[in-house]
């Protein structure tokens, strides 16, 4: 049985009268790569800082390796943190930066040197050890920041949007590096990002946050294919899921759902929830479910086509609603055309008026 390395129980954070973390319960297993995602201001960084000990916990319990850590000093929690701006000490060399925490923990010089060299080898930083941070590129600085975390051998690595300051190409490269590093070290990682591609590619477990609350916890594919609510469905996946107003109807004696704008009727017999006729719903169609030969279709007026080579993105309208369709490969479509976009009705998700998923 897997042991829980990090546990949050009804954790709350208030700033005066303002509650920013509204009761978070979460278990993170040993060796798991957990990603906190959510829009700006959802509390993901605050939650990470609470785990690190950089923000006080107003109420609730934080446990790391089974020990209560609410009041423990950040340096004694068994964590190491990598910051968005790298937070390297500009007046120290790479070697001094990486060994800084160990020096303050009273580790003997020879041991510090060994740890620093080991981490430098893993991160290919050996040639940069005597440079100052300002003489390094963004990617190198981030590697040093990761190296500084590694030498501490923490129980939990905390990453606070570590790739946000890098350019697109370097971000992809560092993402792969972090994934490899996690595999090599087998460490428990909590990683904060607002980039859902980072979340999908790195995570064993994604925690979607909104407004200080957890919306859903699950594996990347679970969140993608089986979201609990409209927020998660809209947040995970790129381009975003299309949401079309719909109404529950009975069609030929069968429970069905009619898309309001187009009038097409989709079967709803597979839904366990009984829906009274006239119930207002929202149908969720991912842009990538559209394909030739589907059992249902939408008539779309194309507003704009983006030809990306490997895929074609079509921005169109179904009635008043804007719909994005993603086809793989090159499609000979033009702005202003009207097309019939086909899809399988079984791939459509439904949400109630309260935005919760109807299964």
């Amino acid at each position: 049985m897997a042991t829980s390395e990090l546990s949050l129980k009804s954790v709350r954070k208030t700033f005066g009268a303002l509650e920013v973390i509204k009761g978070v319960d979460l278990e993170i297993e040993k060796g798991e790569f957990t990603v906190f995602v959510g829009p700006s201001g959802c509390g993901k960084s605050t939650l990470l800082r609470m785990i690190a000990g950089l923000e006080d916990i107003s109420s609730g319990e934080l446990e790391i390796s089974g020990q209560r850590m609410n009041e423990t000093d950040p340096s004694k929690r068994g964590i190491a943190m990598v910051f968005q701006s790298y937070a390297l000490y500009p007046h120290l060399t790479v070697r001094q930066n990486m060994g800084f925490a160990l020096r303050f923990a009273g580790v003997p010089k020879a041991e510090i040197e060994k740890q620093v060299m080991d981490a430098a080898r893993i991160l290919e930083l050996e040639k940069l050890l005597d440079r100052r941070p300002k003489a390094l590129s963004g990617g190198q600085r981030q590697r040093v920041a990761i190296g500084r975390a590694i030498v501490r051998h923490p129980k939990v690595f905390l990453f606070d949007e570590p790739l946000s300051n890098l350019d697109a190409e370097l971000r992809v490269h560092m993402r792969v590096e972090i994934a490899k590093l996690h595999k090599k070290l087998g460490a428990t990682v909590v990683y904060v990002t607002h980039d859902q591609v980072e979340a999908m590619t790195l995570a064993d477990k994604i925690v979607v946050l909104r407004d200080g609350r957890i919306e859903q916890v699950g594996s990347p594919l679970q969140l993608y294919s089986d979201p609990d609510n409209r927020f998660v469905a809209g947040f995970i996946g790129s381009p975003k899921m299309n949401f079309l107003p719909a109404t529950a109807v009975t069609n030929n004696g069968q429970p069905s759902i009619r898309l309001d704008a187009s009038g097409i009727v989709l079967p709803a017999g597979h839904l366990a929830t009984g829906l009274a006729d006239g119930t207002r719903l929202v149908a969720g169609l991912r842009p990538e479910i559209f394909k030739d030969g589907g059992d249902s279709s939408l008539l779309l007026d194309i507003e704009m086509v983006e030809h990306l080579g490997s895929e074609t993105l079509v921005h169109a309208r179904s009635g008043e609603t804007l719909v994005t369709v993603k086809y793989s490969g090159i499609r000979p479509m033009k702005d202003g055309e009207t097309v019939r976009a086909e899809f399988d009705a079984a791939n459509v998700l439904f949400f109630g008026a309260d935005d919760q998923r109807i299964r």
């Binding site: 000990g53 950089l54 701006s85 937070a87 000490y89 925490a101």
Partner: protein
């Protein structure tokens, strides 16, 4: 036409800058030339190199105990500067980094003291120093400069550029608050310290009115007081006055030119 306007504009700009530069530098040139002339030549308005430099130096050295007044000035300026930098940087850092309900109120109260003219403070300060038994001591000059509202303000503004993530990283690395200040903040903000050093050192070195009030015996006096007293004698020896003015100016010039780069960096922001 357009070219002519541009040429004329440049001519006027350079002429204006030239005049301003001349006005700024002329007192220095005159001071140096004056040091080589006799008092009579200076009064006559002679602008040129004379041959009385050694006589003027001898006259100045005979009139005052040069090493002693230099030592007094240096001691006061260095102690004032060092202590002001310690107090103001701790205060500026504290005001910026630590949150408190009363922080802004206390800070505003400190800034308000900038509005009080020194003339209004002289008598209470003198009484205070008298009660502390510090009149005619160098501490009477040093102590009132320590809580400089302007330098606190300067350090607080500069601390805004100090990344909070550095402090967070240091906390995760196990540093206590005083260690973060000493081992991270101070070295990272060294340009800010350099700029503040120049500002405070110059102000302290050139301080005249307050030392004139509290320093009474000759062996306590600073170079600015000596220059002033020589210039206001019944028959002032202007040649010796010019020599003393050069000696009084020299240390601030040296400090400025040595630390010029850090000064400019400190003024535009320490963190790159």
């Amino acid at each position: 036409m357009d070219r002519l306007t541009r040429t004329l504009s440049s001519v006027f700009t350079y002429a204006f800058l030239g005049i301003m530069a001349f006005l700024s530098i002329f007192p220095f040139i005159w001071m140096i030339l004056g040091a080589t002339n006799t008092s009579i030549d200076i009064v006559k308005g002679k602008v040129g190199i004379g041959s009385a430099l050694m006589d003027n130096i001898r006259a100045f050295a005979a009139a005052v105990d040069v090493p002693l007044i230099f030592w007094n000035s240096i001691k006061i300026a260095l102690l004032s500067t060092a202590l002001t930098l310690i107090v103001a940087s701790l205060a500026g850092y504290g005001f910026e980094v630590f949150r408190s309900k009363y922080r802004e109120r206390v800070y505003s109260a400190i800034l308000l003291t900038l509005m009080v003219p020194f003339a209004a403070l002289m008598i209470p300060l003198f009484i205070m120093m008298g009660k502390l038994g510090l009149i005619d001591t160098h501490w009477a000059v040093i102590l009132p400069t320590l809580g400089s509202a302007f330098v606190i303000f300067y350090f607080r503004q500069s601390t805004k550029a100090f990344p909070s993530e550095l402090r967070d990283a240091a906390r995760v690395d196990g540093l206590k608050e005083w260690q973060i200040f000493l081992l991270i903040y101070v070295p990272v903000m060294r340009s800010t310290y350099a700029a503040a050093f120049i500002i405070v050192f110059m102000a302290s070195w050139n301080n005249y009115l307050w030392p004139l009030i509290v320093l009474q015996s000759n062996e306590m006096k600073t170079i600015t007081l000596v220059v002033s007293s020589m210039a206001s004698a019944y028959y002032p020896d202007f040649g010796a006055v010019m020599v003393s003015a050069i000696l009084a100016t020299l240390p601030t010039l040296v400090v400025f030119f040595v630390m010029q780069r850090q000064f400019v960096q400190g003024m535009i922001g320490s963190i790159k």
